[in-house]
Each structure stands twice: as structure tokens, then as C-alpha cells.
């Protein structure tokens, strides 16, 4: 299932793929293979990768690799899985009603939701926007409670 998608473990690979994906939305999933939510998301990603192949590229980033920690710190990835969108090496933000616009947390309910999100990002990016609105209704967006530890 996720053998169809590239898994990136080195910083260089991540750099290359961000730089080299032209005129396509780049979807980077930060996660690890042992997590069940991550597996669910991976399943959706791999099933929709062929359908979106004309305007999106999908890749998986192993969050436990050492070289990747740079990105983990840069994007402030704490929730597994997290999905970050790029377009022509520009980081695309999406306002889905949650606090964090820079990435998508968690998995999607259905494959169609994911396709809708990618399409919204693509349309916004083609218009030149850097932040787009989420097309999904609130019930389809996974919400997480923010628990402060040791505070």
C-alpha cells in the first residue's frame, strides 16, 4: 500500500523533492509506520496518488530519522501524522478552522476529502495565494484537544 509512495529519510532527499516538483502540489506526510492513524492516512494517500498524479505528488517522510529532525523543528511537528503542502517550493497554508494553519494534523475521513483539500490548495496556488480556505465542513476536520504537559 505505501510501497507506491516514496519514503524519504535524508534531508537531501527532502530538499530535492521540494525543489524539483514543479507546477504540482507536493504533499509531505510526516509520520512513522508504527502509528495506526498514520497507516490510515498512508492508505488514503496511496490510493489517491494515481488519481492526483496530474497535479500532485505525494511523499512520506520518516519522522524518526535524524536528518529529518531539522524539518521537525522547523515545521514544529508534534502530532503524528502531520501533512505539509508545498507548491513550487512555496509552503502553502490552509485555514481549516484549527489553530495551526501551516499543516494538516491527523488523517482524513475519506479519500474524497483528501482530494478536495489538494484541489483547493492547487486552485489557490495557481491564483497566487499562499493561504487557502479549507473546503471541508467542520465535522470532517479532525480536531485535537490541546493538553499542556507539565505546565
Amino acid at each position: 500500500m505505501s510501497f507506491l509512495l516514496r519514503t524519504l529519510t535524508r534531508k537531501r532527499e527532502v530538499d530535492d523533492i521540494i525543489r524539483d516538483t514543479l507546477d504540482q502540489v507536493l504533499v509531505l506526510r510526516f509520520g512513522r509506520e508504527s502509528d495506526p492513524v498514520c497507516l490510515h492516512l498512508d492508505d488514503i494517500l496511496s490510493k489517491s496518488s494515481r488519481e492526483l498524479s496530474k497535479f500532485a505528488t505525494i511523499a512520506l517522510v520518516e519522522v524518526d530519522a535524524e536528518e529529518i529532525q531539522v524539518y521537525v523543528r522547523y515545521f514544529d511537528i508534534t502530532m503524528i501524522p502531520s501533512t505539509v503542502f508545498f507548491f513550487n517550493a512555496q509552503h502553502m497554508k490552509m485555514d481549516s478552522g484549527t489553530a495551526d494553519h501551516t499543516k494538516w494534523l491527523g488523517s482524513f475521513h475519506t479519500k474524497q476529502d483528501f482530494i478536495d483539500v489538494v484541489e483547493a490548495i492547487f486552485r489557490g496556488a495557481m491564483k497566487g495565494k499562499l493561504i487557502v480556505n479549507c473546503p471541508l465542513p467542520p465535522q470532517k476536520i479532525p480536531r485535537f484537544q490541546l493538553l499542556f504537559k507539565d505546565v
Binding site: 494515481r50 488519481e51 492526483l52 498524479s53 496530474k54 497535479f55 482530494i115 484541489e119 492547487f122 486552485r123 495557481m126
Partner: protein, 486 residues
Amino acid sequence: MASLADSFLADLDELSDNEEPILDNEDIDAENMEEDGDGDMADLEALNYDDLDSVSKLQKTQRYNDIMQKVEDALQKGTDISSQGMVLEDDPEYQLIVDCNALSVDIENEIVIIHNFIRDNYRLKFPELESLVHHPIDYARVVKKIGNEMDLTLVDLEGLLPSAIIMVVSVTASTTSGKPLPEENLKKTIDACDRALALDVAKKKVLDFVESRMGYIAPNLSAIVGSAVAAKLMGTAGGLSALAKMPACNVQLLGAKKKNLAGFSTATSQFRVGYLDQTELFQSTPPSLRDRACRLLAAKSTLAARVDSTRGDPTGKTGRDLREEIRKKIEKWQEPPPAKQPKPLPVPDSEPKKKRGGRRLRKMKERYAVTDMRKLANRMQFGVPEESSLGDGLGEGYGMLGQAGSGKLRVSVAQSKLATKAAKRFKDKHYGSSGGATSGLTSSLAFTPVQGIELSNPQAHGNLLGSGTQSTYFSEIGTFSKIKRT
């Protein structure tokens, strides 16, 4: 019928009178030629019921006997592979094969003649039989079996005919209008049946012989369709060169059965296949592909026959290659189609939207179009202040609506270009009005504040807009928009 026969006979008597002296003077060597000529004449003389011999002369001819003798010898000798170096036409065996082909065609014609003879004789006894049993040999066998019997339950037709036909024959025999034949007629009929069966046996022998030699004569053709079918094709076509000259569509139909037996449905009968459907290649194709396979087979076998007729490839390799090609093509047709891959979604906004047009769309757009009233209100006359709803420039301006000097007091909604149906409807309702469609409320006079009374032509359209000068309120074709109950 009798009078027709008599008239024909009268004609023929003249002809035969002329030929008599020529016949007597002919040499026996030329007997073959004259026999053929006689055969043609015998055709016409077949209406003479009395003598079978006058009808069927083939078995008496020298040529027939010669060839049958040679065939018997050759069949007993077994396969004899003559030297390949010899030119084909000089080979006596080849000549024999050619003769056999011609002979088999002659035998077939002869059988038809005899069948007519039997049928004409047996018509007195059992007229319906000829329409139930079409095949001449089967007919001859049945006639021989039934003989003069009136009660068909005593006659056992098993093995001669399919059971359904036997049933139909028995039923028809019980209600037949025929009467038993007189003795000499019966004897003649049985003789004719025997003759027909003997000819059939002879034809089979000839075909067997040709088939056994087929690999030598036409190696390529027999490589594709098999020697039995090749022999039949050659026999029916009348020789290898005749077969080679035929177009492939004719080859496909050689040996096709035309008539359908009584009571059988035509839905299952295979359409347009002849001897070729006995080939192994054809039998092994699934029924859905049989039409295409037959056409392909006919085409390639015609090619092979042409190669053989010019002795282009005596080894038969061309035939084997063609056979392989046919087999591969049939296999390819049977392959399942490639699996469907899910199609990727198109890039958003890359395909321009298809705009539709047409009458329906135009009609819909008309409801939102800018009306003539609004157009007039949007424009202003030069140097003339416009009136406004609240007066003194406050409120909405009226533009050129109702302006002095226009000649019209009121502006109407323009007749929709597409409201032809509505116009038609109201035209029909004008059964009361005489000439012109003017309502009683239009007037040629217009009262204007400046000039007083203005005379204007109610037919002329104003300069303001094309057709926007008719009164809506008193329009001839307008309808009530809303009727409120008070």
C-alpha cells in the same frame, strides 16, 4: 403439364431430326464430345418419362468408364509419389486428377437429372416427399425404401433421415393424395434410384482418390484446410485453376447449403459457410468468432490455391506458414482486453468550460436581459434635463422615457423575439377582428404638454429604439400579468 410437354417434344423432334445424320457419321473417338452434346439434349428430353436411358447417359460413356477404371487402379496402388521434377501438366496422374474433377461435376449434374426423373415419376405416388426431402441421394434412398407401400408405418426409415423428418414424412404420408404406381413405372423408378446411388458411390470414390493425391497436387491448400476439404473445394470449383481464379468470397460459399429443411428454425443455421466449416481450424474457433474466422480462412486458402495453381511452392511451406498465421490471428482475437487502469483526475481549471448555446439558452437569458424601458431610462437627450421620480433631480432619473417630442406617451415592453408561440396564440384568438391587428384603444393622436396635440403614425416605430414603442398596457399580444382578487 402434358400439353406443355407435348409442345416441347414437338420442338425437340425437329432438332433431333436435324442431328440424326451427323450423329451416325461421327467417329467413336469423338464419342466423348458428342456424348456431352447428347447430355445437353438429353436434359431437354428428360421430359420423356418413358426411358431412363434416354435421360441418363453418363454411365454408358467411354470417358466415364475409363476414368473410373483408372481411379480404381490408382486407389488400389496406394499413394504413389511421382517424381517431383516432372512438369505438372505432363504427369499422367495430374491429368487424371483434372479429369476426375470434371467428372465429379458431371456426376453431380447427372444425379440432379436422375433426381428430377425419379421425382416426376414418384409424384403420382407421394407428391409431398420432394418438398420434405431435398437432398437427391436421400430422396432416392427413401423412394427405394418406400417402394409402392401405402402405409408408412411398415417402412423403417431409420438411419436414412433425421428422426424429425421421418416423423413429418410419416404424418404426411398418411394424408397424401397419391396413388400406388403401376408396376413398370415402379420398376423404372427403382432402377433410377439404383442408378443415382451408384453414381453417388462413384463420386465418393473419385473424391477419395483426389483427396489421397491432394498433398501432391495442391500441397499448400491442403496444408491449410486439410486434404478432404481441399478435394471437395477443387471438385466443386472444377479444377485447381478454376479455384484459383475465384475470389475469396466465392470460395467461402462453395458447398453452402441453401435450403432449410421443413420445420427447422433458421435461427441456428450458420450463415454463409460452405465446405470450409469442416476444416479443423474452423471447428476449433468459438462460435462468436466463426464469421471472421471463415472469412480469414477463405482469403488465405484462396492465396494458397493460387500458389498451387502456378506450382510456386511444391513443398507446401507457404501453406504451413499461412496456417500458422491464421492460427495466431484467431488466438489474438480471443485475448481478453487489457485491464482498465484508473484514470487520473484532470488538472483543475485546465479545461475551459463548454459554453452551450441554442434557442433554449437564449430564451432563458431573455428573462434577465436589459429591457427597452431600462435602456430608454439610461439614455438622455442632449440639452434636455431629464425628469426624475422625486422631482428636481432627486430620485431615479427617467432618461428618455416619456420625453416630449418622442411622439409616444408610453413605452412598452418589446415583443420578445422568441415569443413566437405567444404571438401565434393571440393571432388565432383574433377571430373577431377584421383586417389589421390594432386594438380599439390605440389612437393616432397624442397629447403632449409642449406641442399640444401631436399626430403620430401608430404604425411607425419611433427613433428611440427599434421596436420598443408599442404600448404595453394596451398591447395586442400582451397578457394579464397578475389578476388580484379584491
